[in-house]
């Protein structure tokens, strides 16, 4: 066994932990520790430690001193705050994008939508659809020209995936989300700045509403009230 992958270990560990959180392999309420994690990855504690630190600044975990590493519950307030932040960033981004977007960008956006259309409703493709949604958002952010937008989005995207990973198996809602995206692209084509912003706002407002509905409807299949595991 020789070393082939030269990406830093801390980075790979970060990804693995992140995935297990946002795709709900580890449920909210779970408490971990540096030591356990290090053992499970067959490494020493330092790279784990650094990954943890990263995840903490991203807000995906909470380190409770002398207790352990907690995967926090999803709070309604959290959903609202993050949705709002994403909304204002993406609205501004799409408004700027109107003036900067190239025909080729439009083409790529449409391609993403077309691909998503094929997958919507197919349960095995949920993650694929989510990934396409991310591609869509990222492309628009790139068109805005503001690098910070992309960075912030990347930082908090994990939360959004975590939220939506239990939403996107709802076919109707998913369809509405992608329909709004179509409207956004249409607005971009028409170079209608106001409309683009409006539709983007609608997109996030609806998204927030759906997320809150699910959160409050309580039990779907993952215990919302008490999710404790070890």
């Amino acid at each position: 066994m020789y070393r082939v992958d030269h990406t830093p270990l801390r980075y790979r560990i970060h990804q693995k932990i992140r995935d297990k959180i946002i795709y709900k392999v580890w449920k909210s309420g779970t408490i971990l520790s540096e030591g356990e994690l290090a053992k499970s990855f067959n490494t020493s504690r330092t790279p784990v430690r650094e990954a943890i630190r990263q995840l903490e600044t991203e807000g995906l975990i909470r380190v409770i001193p002398k207790k352990g590493i907690l995967i926090p519950e999803i709070e309604d307030k959290e959903i609202e705050d993050i949705s709002e932040l994403l909304e204002i960033i993406h609205c501004r981004a799409v408004e700027k994008a109107v003036e900067k977007v190239s025909p080729k960008d439009i083409e790529r956006l449409e391609k993403i939508i077309a691909e998503a259309d094929n997958y919507i409703g197919k349960k095995t493709k949920i993650n694929k659809v989510i990934a396409l949604g991310i591609q869509f958002s990222e492309l628009i952010l790139k068109c805005s020209g503001n690098k910070r937008f992309l960075e912030i989005d990347k930082q908090i995207r994990g939360h959004m995936i975590r939220f939506t990973s239990e939403l996107c198996d709802d076919e109707d809602r998913s369809k509405i989300g992608w329909n709004t995206r179509k409207e956004i692209v249409a607005a971009l084509k028409k170079k209608d700045k106001r409309l683009a912003g409006l539709k983007m706002r609608k997109h996030y407002q609806k998204g927030k509403k759906f997320l809150l509905e699910i959160s409050n409807s309580g039990s779907k299949r993952s215990a919302k009230k008490r999710g404790r595991s070890k």
Copy 2:
């Protein structure tokens, strides 16, 4: 010598490095290394390493593989991007604050302004004035009720301080900044959401304009073109 301060070492190191960057003790273009820093702080490299990692995600340094830790130049694009991000966040924040702000909050805002008035123009108090500006912003962000806003702001505030630390010794411009803040408080008092947002936008637009002017006017006293030191 017994250990009294129980804040993590990495945190203190982070602060020290951060301060040296944003207050321009270390100029843009400087290249450092983990080892040097560790020696200068009389610690091992691990806590330094973690501080570096933190500063990197904040964007205050750039790690160049096998070369060292670079303190990047201030780019105009950077100023524009960050100003824009802060603008949209603070605009939304102040608009929400209109409906949530308490009389006591208003009082505190006015107190901050009054205190700043005393210091403006006094060169020895530059950092004090900057600190008051931060307090002002933070208070409004808090009133907005969105915790993410505060978090993002905290993350990128370092950059803004770095930018403004060479701006704020300009008395006139500083005065304009604080006058706008007075207008913002007035709008909050009148519960005029639209006006508050407008003034906040004005605040950041002007701020951006000033920063770019200075950046482009080139040489003030700190070498803008070539700042190399070791």
